[in-house]
Symmetry: C2
Subunit: 333 residues, 2 copies
Amino acid sequence: MRSATGNKRKPTIYDVAERVGMNASTVSRALNKPGRINAATEARIRAVAEELGFRTNPSARALHTGKTGTYALVVADITNPVHFELIRGAEEVARSAGYALILSETQGSPEREHEAISALQRSADGLLVIGSRLNGSQLAELAEATPIVAANHLADELPSVAPDPTSGYTAAVEHLAELGHRSLAYLSGPLAALNQSRWDLLFRLAVARGISVVEIPLTGATVAAGAEAVPRILASGSTSVLAYNDLVAHGVLREARAQGVIVPDRFSLVGFDDIFSAELAVPSLTTVRTPLHEIGTTAMTLLIDDERNRTPSRELLPTELIVRESTAPPPVG
Amino acid sequence: MRSATGNKRKPTIYDVAERVGMNASTVSRALNKPGRINAATEARIRAVAEELGFRTNPSARALHTGKTGTYALVVADITNPVHFELIRGAEEVARSAGYALILSETQGSPEREHEAISALQRSADGLLVIGSRLNGSQLAELAEATPIVAANHLADELPSVAPDPTSGYTAAVEHLAELGHRSLAYLSGPLAALNQSRWDLLFRLAVARGISVVEIPLTGATVAAGAEAVPRILASGSTSVLAYNDLVAHGVLREARAQGVIVPDRFSLVGFDDIFSAELAVPSLTTVRTPLHEIGTTAMTLLIDDERNRTPSRELLPTELIVRESTAPPPVG
DNA sequence: CTGTTAGCGCTTTCAT
DNA sequence: ATGAAAGCGCTAACAG
């Protein structure tokens, strides 16, 4: 009987070699380059390896090859629902390609993000940063050591994958115009660059249809920030609102209800992302769906591809409008 | 100008040693056992290491020490909101203790879970399994190779951390009794063992207060399964319902609304877990809150503690009732 | 097709 | 206080 802390010793390649009466290098070949050695020997080696419960020690392999067989995910906020499907997509691709995935959360702090990335560069063959708070040049500098791909964030200096709001926004403005809306308020998030391009796009779309449009800045991209914006929405007199994301939209919905303001009777509301609770909300949320899962798989695929993970490029994935209950014709008055 | 794939070479301990004119072993000591060598030399070594951007190669260290400096999280479903805070808690503890965290999702498949665990045992110093689908003896056998702690799941054979429904359920039944309810339906989840103990508890509590109680089995612990249960709830005639978890409760809410059934007028509803959307629901959900974040931190702390991660033990963390809008006095008829 | 050998970067005795 | 040297488990030349 071993002590409570007794580890079962993990078999090495030598244990297998000894057992089959062969050299360790043969075992290594048998396991790594199927078909390059005598079929019978290979089978025997595999059988013994299996029997002994042998698994390659990743550290030993990494030490020699320089490849850890691991990729890392650096994400600002794990609990942001926007990231779930994205993370899951990335994880699926990594796992099915035989890689492990390291997860690191930075709580939105750029310093922690920088530290996390440089620490992880020794443990991973590449990094996927989600919604990075670092600027392009900082990421590019870090990427000199280990490939970095940005997801849900656009950086000119490295490969990035993000949703393209164009199709979804176009459909949303069209939808609102058809319902009869002539005014629109945009609830903008805290990320300057991203917001600018979204605002520009929305501005053009609205102006093209003769819809008046105003921007209402938010203190954050959260439920609380959305709730805070309600008085400003009401004061703006806009009959339709497009929120930076669904979290913000949830806040608007909740606060409006608390104030006895009925959505979509008083104003229509369109969210962004289509997180899982968008459908559960009351009224359920009309929203621009971003292909989160696909962003995750695309980004991880890009990262794993050695040929492409060093060349700046951007994959823009189309968005679409999901019409639910939070949009309706504007009030008649 | 290097080629597009040109990696910046990562400095080793030898580069540092050469630069300070000393032996690699001295550098190793300077960096790992502060105070054990000449203070001035140590300072110089640290300065040079910093300057060169030196970081210990985790694989090389692991190869020698047998410690990877990494823990792994094996979770059935990343997108289940119940797991977010738990994962975040675990990640925080791991990171602040200087460990990396590997994330692996098994999509609820026991085979994949078994495979994931045994694969990860070579890469990690220990594993945290969340909501495992394996039974205690399988986990115990795997735990012979590498410590395993179970979170949100009780296993007699290894250390586990889970919510204790007692306090929350007691408060819930009391709350319903005070509102005047005399009948209760329990929507049970798919995990046999867990359900049994919850049902037993609820049964005792209800009977003690003379409340009639029935169990309605669910096909899964999902929104869809909750929606499916609505006809049975109605048919049961129960005036109050306790759902296996908040996802199920959300499904009930949605389907009830679709059928024109008003909660809490027709029946009261109590959820379990208090996921973030519970507050956003309409009506907002009265629910038994489980300390998810704390389960994560407690479990990871246990795992990191070599003294305790081998000894079966169970940490039961208290739950509490959060009263919101989905509970009210029963209909008078 | 298979064995020998060197070495990846680090830690750790054992010397000095 | 510091240096020398061995070895963790694996892979990849290089031989045979």
